[in-house]
């Protein structure tokens, strides 16, 4: 058997041992995962971001505009020294400020206006019948928004509308839960297939 299969198989079993209870073998595999993942992302970030986007364009192609993010990035190291820890705030301010500035129109467009426009659809079909699905969507959006509107007490008719919103929210949570379970299950089946066929050779 290939050493790669043995390694992957033993590490898979080490993680699965957590199903019995928390144990040292699981903790060894978990610690290794933490370290290797950080090391992997560090190398990939160094190679694809710092080298490809900063050092090569700045020092080989003399792209002067990159001096600004380079200095801002270096300011982050100020956090390691007590007297200079505040200078890293300038780099964070660039991230926060530009993110917030870009988010205002983008979020308003993608998250709010487009969702409202997708909700407001004709409720009468060409055949003359009512489009039940469109009515359900409009009722669902309005009642769920009512549920999240806390500036008015949820009593009387408004309370009933808000109560209706909980049914739609539960339908959303139920389907999301179902998809989460099935995605985890499919990954689990993949790991079991690997263990039983490639590692243990119990199935073909």
């Amino acid at each position: 058997m290939a050493i790669s299969t043995i390694t992957a198989g033993l590490l898979t079993l080490a993680i699965l041992s957590f199903l019995y209870r928390d144990n040292p073998i699981y903790k060894v595999a978990e610690s290794l995962l933490v370290g290797v993942s950080i090391g992997y992302f560090l190398v990939i970030t160094w190679s694809t971001t710092l080298m490809d986007l900063l050092f090569i364009p700045l020092f080989s192609e003399h792209k002067i505009s990159l001096v600004i993010p380079f200095i801002l990035g270096l300011l982050m190291f100020g956090r390691f020294f007590k007297g200079t820890s505040h200078i890293s705030r300038i780099a964070i301010a660039v991230l926060i400020g530009s993110g917030a500035g870009a988010a205002i129109p983008a979020m308003l467009n993608a998250r709010t206006l487009q969702q409202i426009s997708a909700t407001i659809q004709p409720i009468l079909l060409e055949s003359g019948w009512l489009d039940i699905s469109a009515i359900v969507v409009i009722a669902g959006v309005l009642s769920t928004l009512a549920y999240f509107y806390f500036s008015r007490e949820h009593t009387g008719s408004f309370g009933w509308v808000a109560k209706g919103g909980t049914y739609f929210l539960m339908a959303f949570c139920g389907t999301t839960f179902g998809y989460t379970v099935m995605s985890r299950m499919s990954t689990f089946i993949g790991r079991m297939e690997f263990l039983l066929s490639d590692f243990l050779h119990l199935t073909q």
Partner: protein, 207 residues
């Protein structure tokens, strides 16, 4: 000044990015991409390096104090191993770096991910009781989705997957839309508060 200057920078960059969204000129688009793609990625890369250095410092301190020595040493070993492998053999397809990625990181990661199936299922078994109307809707929606996505689909009457799709595309979608509208409005107000300096928690507690 240590708080005022970052606030001014935040306001300036916020106004610049807000204005750039409405400008269709190629130069404006170039600046927009430069800030949102290059600046962001480069500063994030530096923050990752800062994070890794902090991680190593924290672990070395804990090891010297004798706390969870073996586990922390293993984590440090992983952090140091990957850059060393990359430095010596590179990161191409059949390098030792990619071997560790494919045979250590991927199996560990996907098994941890799949492990959650058991905990989600056991939590559902304990928590899913149709004691009220909304709880019954939650149970039915989850059950329909799981049934329609399982390999039993061929054995089920045709209307069950159809109902599951209808629930996903209509009542579930309606709640999702309302949540997204809320997120959009929430992001808008939070962004405005940050740019205008009303929200200052990102500056931290230090003077």
């Amino acid at each position: 000044m240590s708080r005022r200057l970052p606030q001014i920078v935040c306001l300036l960059f916020g106004l610049i990015m807000f204005t750039l969204y409405f400008l269709d000129h190629p130069t404006a688009k170039q600046i927009n991409t430069l800030i949102l793609v290059d600046y962001w990625q480069i500063i994030f890369a530096f923050t990752l390096v800062v994070g890794v250095i902090s991680f190593i410092r924290n672990h070395v301190t804990a090891i010297s104090r004798g706390n969870d020595r073996l586990y922390r040493l293993l984590s440090l070993f992983g952090v140091v191993l990957m850059p060393i492998l990359a430095l010596i053999w590179g990161i191409k397809g059949d390098s030792p770096f990619m071997w560790v990625f494919e045979n250590v990181q991927v199996p560990l990661q996907s098994t941890v991910f799949s492990l959650l199936a058991f905990f989600v299922a056991s939590a559902a078994f304990r928590g899913f009781h149709a004691r009220s109307g909304p709880a019954a809707v939650l149970l039915i929606a989850a059950f329909l989705t799981i049934l329609s996505r399982s390999s039993l689909e061929g054995l089920l009457p045709d209307f069950i997957p159809d109902i599951a799709v209808w629930v996903r595309n209509n009542p579930s979608m309606a709640a999702r839309r309302a949540i997204l509208i809320g997120i959009g409005l929430g992001s808008l107000t939070t962004s405005l508060r940050v740019i205008l300096g009303i929200e200052r928690t990102w500056l931290g507690g230090e003077k």
